[in-house]
Symmetry: C2
Subunit: 473 residues, 2 copies
Amino acid sequence: MTSHTKLSGGSHPPRARLDRIFHSLEGALGTGMVLSAKEVLETYAEDDSGFGAFQPDFVIRARNTQDVSIILKEASREGVPVVPRGGGTGRVGGALAVYGGIVLSLEKMNRITAIENENFLARVEPGMILEKFHQSIEEAGLFYPPDPSSLDSCSVGGNVACNAGGPRALKYGVTSNYVLGAEFVLPDGTILKTGRSTVKGGAGYELHKLIVGSEGTLGVITGITFKLVAKPSHIETALITFPTARAALQSSQDIMKSGILPRSLEFMDALSLAAARTKVPRQLPETAGGCLLVELDGSSADTLLEEMGRVAEICDKHGSGEALVAQDEAQRRDLWTVRREVAPALREMHPCRVSEDIVVPRAALAGIVDELQTTATKHGIKIAAFGHSGDGNIHVTVLYDEPTREAADAACTDTLRLAVKHGGTVAGEHGTGIQKVGALALEQSAELLEFQRGLKKYFDPAGIMNPGKVVAI
Amino acid sequence: MTSHTKLSGGSHPPRARLDRIFHSLEGALGTGMVLSAKEVLETYAEDDSGFGAFQPDFVIRARNTQDVSIILKEASREGVPVVPRGGGTGRVGGALAVYGGIVLSLEKMNRITAIENENFLARVEPGMILEKFHQSIEEAGLFYPPDPSSLDSCSVGGNVACNAGGPRALKYGVTSNYVLGAEFVLPDGTILKTGRSTVKGGAGYELHKLIVGSEGTLGVITGITFKLVAKPSHIETALITFPTARAALQSSQDIMKSGILPRSLEFMDALSLAAARTKVPRQLPETAGGCLLVELDGSSADTLLEEMGRVAEICDKHGSGEALVAQDEAQRRDLWTVRREVAPALREMHPCRVSEDIVVPRAALAGIVDELQTTATKHGIKIAAFGHSGDGNIHVTVLYDEPTREAADAACTDTLRLAVKHGGTVAGEHGTGIQKVGALALEQSAELLEFQRGLKKYFDPAGIMNPGKVVAI
């Protein structure tokens, strides 16, 4: 955990209360529903943030919305923390039971309840795994764009909770662009249906939009109505190397200025490429200082070919080297493997690392990636940068050895300050969680933070919902 | 006003308080800033809803955010209503001072403060007229899609307040899709900057998303950061007539199912066409029972031509008649005039009319337009239907003579019930205002309404912000 992750906003409930809620929930939900075996608690103690293990007191795998309602109502009465959990793939510690209490897993609520082809929408339970959802939707000839890298194990409810993005967000937008409505359980157990089944509409407040990104701190999402779009019939993908990171980023910026809107425009710096090279059979030139993965989609193959030609010309002006253009789906997957393996490879090579997820206005990106290297040199550590350059969203991974932990923390703070200085934000597509609670003050005023804490209290007067996350109280 | 517009949620402040706030605001803002001349009050007494005149006690044309902050702070202290106002073009009575108090006009805060071409964003004050904003953005080679029909006189702040849409929303989405961040003054005078300058981001709660569509009931928007997109280089527009409304709507649905995504797909029924015919020189066949206006845009002329060919084939299968395809910009404007003149022509022909703005899942549309005619026959009145068929968003205009007012009200209620019965919503792109306050209960549960009233109270404990609108307290 970095220096930004000092815990605040809750406390571990006393044993007597835990015993009481165990009995009342067993009574209401049925024997065997409230799990407290050590191995179960351990399974739900960690997430993908690497922030360590926080063992809950109980784990409950909700079967339906009624279960969720009962659990929240009892927890509100007893003041016991409830931590909603999907796939546990979060990077900011949002699913960690930092004050114990109940981990409320939504994994069993994982059905698609409707796909309405003609209306371009789907209704789904929160525990549905994103990749399975993609498959079902595409089999129906439609398309659900958000594609965070954890798509084989993250849940759609988790995606909504942290407003997930992914490479295709460049053209298609993030999760919030696809949430038409939600079934949502308030901390007192009240079940609300917010939003609607239509793309347009404005009856009352846009409550469903506020629930997106609230990371389980305002209540629990138990159902989602997603907007879908038509499945694009053609895709073109190319991996293009550059002598320097700057040349890659300037090309990225020039592609965006050309009027072409790729569905993905991904950047990797030299360190990210070096990491990927350890995992991928494909040979990337050792000399590459930066790389872009460009993917276009649309309904006309000719248009895409013409656009990819223009992309190649733009990159050529910045001295691009080899360009690998996928000729079929297998090759397309191969090219993506380079990009997808960056994070796992960095993780394996550097057990000590902190991953920051910043966004800056696109024009500032090339300058910032240079400044990051200055930051790394200053603190005597290494920084890898990769991610969604088209969006200005870069995953900055600070790599360190145990003795340089303090230097890494300082580099993280510098990174976040850098993002804010250039008009950006400290949290991109991973959310706030416990990681960025302290860092919010770098970006937001004391008045805004205070107002959000009050808003949280309006939703959750008992303070049970995922305490310590987003705006810790 | 229909039966849905019973006023509730406020009261006219007593004279003593008004006198006090007049003096304190004159002191704080300067002499001559707080207007109370009869002709000024009358100018700001009505909006485009046709719900009548509600004279405020004062009108203040704010010069800047500080003015807004001072006004709200004083008004909160004195419990005097504040009604924010942009262009006054709202259709649901959102800008009416139904309990008197202060009309806070943002018309003088009308500057674009920044256009950042490379970052595809613009910063703008709320009083900026939309059409002027469009012009400035397009001159910069960029594009801001939302285009409600009042674009020559509505303000961008009003667009954000009611989450405006327009014909291009089909492809590009409504206003909320373009609001990255907002400067927002809370009713106690606190100035908050919410959201961000980047497309992606998730630090804290998505407060700016909640402010969109809140119609000045939670505070006052004093600045907006809009996302922009690349300006499409090619446009194709066609006006296609059909023997029946049903044939037009079935074609609309089949176009959407084909995978083609027009930027606009507009429908007019026979009555709407008859009205338009009185205003437009162009001859539309007298026999047409329905009509579609289809507009495609993109970066390739060839692709658009091919797609328009497919559109024509689809329409042909449903027995389409004449198709007028614009050959240049002037002809394109001519075709749009047919669509744009429907509402003004209906207004002139039928001084007694109520306009409802419903949305239904697209597949239900053809059936609903038929059911609307059954409703009209049942109540002995006329109903015209037109609007954004691609989105399922139809403007239902109930036409009546003074003696049939009750029948018209009943037909309106039937219309809203019909929308909800088919999974739709009672409020599309015009907002809730005072018109739909009562109708919300047709769509939303008592718990959800109560929760929204509490949310409003959290923002506005003194109850001064645009009382009687959205969720009347």
